[in-house]
Symmetry: C2
Subunit: 214 residues, 2 copies
DNA sequence: CGTGCGCTTGAAAGGTATCAAAAGGCGTGG
DNA sequence: CCACGCCTTTTGATACCTTTCAAGCGCACG
């Protein structure tokens, strides 16, 4: 098992730094001289359209890589949701280290596979589904990603804005707000500052949702 | 360069066979004893919901792999759109061969990366967009995947059913039909038996669509 | 020639988008 | 400490588009 030594090598490549809220980390199409990992905080990954619309591809959590280290250009843009701590890797070196180690290569493939599964689940979610289905799926998925049990007392943090959720779910900001209000009226959730309590959202509303996919 | 020898090894593993129209190749969740590639025809890859709804994840073309060879279980179901010719690989052996060759590993990673990019573009498309945007994007993407220049004389084949397109785009069958009729009325396309002509669909309606992404 | 399946077309209902305005939070400055 | 302004969120009313339910059409096949 060389993994441990490999990981040490990786760590030596990394330099960590901070980014303020709402500041850009990189932009879609830019040459990717560095690869990034999140160590603290949340990052939104998005693509923009010329007409100003924006689609959020995913929210990155601590431990996540932003984009794949193999691509020469960033496939999307990234900016900080709140204040964020990041690791930066020189991409060429990182690539070399990863590809020269079967273990790391395997890890990277597993990372890509996870991304793909997440993308497909998201795709699945956007395929049809009402606003309510999208929001409940999103909340359940978010909770499971945060690894929270989300007791009735502990609210699930939602650091992103309503507009971010809207751009992630393919809805309008107002619809997100209304639908959340509707779920609260039904007793499924309770809206707290910067988060929600989800006591009534235990069963997945349908199969094939992000939670069931491991 | 070992690639050539590697590919020879791969070919020795493969056995080819035929599947009739609308017949199942494998089902979601099934143990993946074999991996499959398409050599002729078209395959729909989809997930089903308990309520009978179905979401088409993608359409596979000749040269495509169905699902990743690494996963132990199929992430979705596959069936033949028309009559199809396939290659079957014993998955464990295929996995071993691929992982033992850096070149093949790299090829597989590139395949996964393509899949991921396709999934994200699709995701992007489903995110918002009207029925018309979805259909035009789909047609342009399909044309570019088929590698057709699509002259005014040569129709773009659409072997799948209207319902398949609907399940792929997150629309209803009727909406697909109506929207195609609308595009024809506007002169953007012409509907032919088993295909369409797209003389008026040269410019991509927006950036970030599947065609621009390499 | 009749039947079945896929596609098209029609009319009505529903949900989300859009436009508009008010309410809530938070930091800054008086 | 309170007031102000800015930004985010909520709420309201209306319009539009897609869905839904239904029926008719065209074609292949028995």
């Amino acid at each position: 098992m060389h993994e441990e030594r490999d990981l040490t090598t990786l760590k030596r490549l990394a330099t960590s730094f901070r980014v303020d809220a709402d500041h850009t980390i990189f932009s879609e199409g830019e040459f990717a001289g560095s690869a990034f990992g999140v160590s603290r905080g949340f990052v939104r990954l998005f693509k923009s359209l010329p007409d100003g619309r924006r689609r959020i591809v995913s929210f990155a959590l601590p431990g996540d890589l932003l984009d794949t280290p193999l691509a020469d250009r960033f496939a999307f843009s990234a900016d900080a949701i709140g204040e964020v701590s990041l690791c930066r890797f020189p991409r060429e070196q990182l690539k070399k280290v990863i590809l020269s180690s079967p273990d790391l290569t395997r890890l990277l493939m597993e990372f890509e596979a996870r991304e793909l599964r997440a993308a497909r689940n998201h795709l699945f979610l956007l395929g049809s589904s009402s606003a309510e289905e999208r929001l409940t799926s999103f909340l359940l998925d978010w909770r499971s990603r945060l690894g929270q049990v989300s007791t009735a007392s502990q609210p699930l943090p939602l650091p992103m804005r309503r507009g971010d959720i809207a751009d992630f779910l393919g809805l309008q900001l107002e619809t997100v707000s209304r639908t959340l209000a509707g779920l609260e009226k039904k007793g499924a959730i309770r809206i707290a500052p910067n988060g929600v309590l989800l006591p009534g959202l235990e069963r997945a509303p349908r199969e094939g949702d992000p939670c069931t996919a491991l």
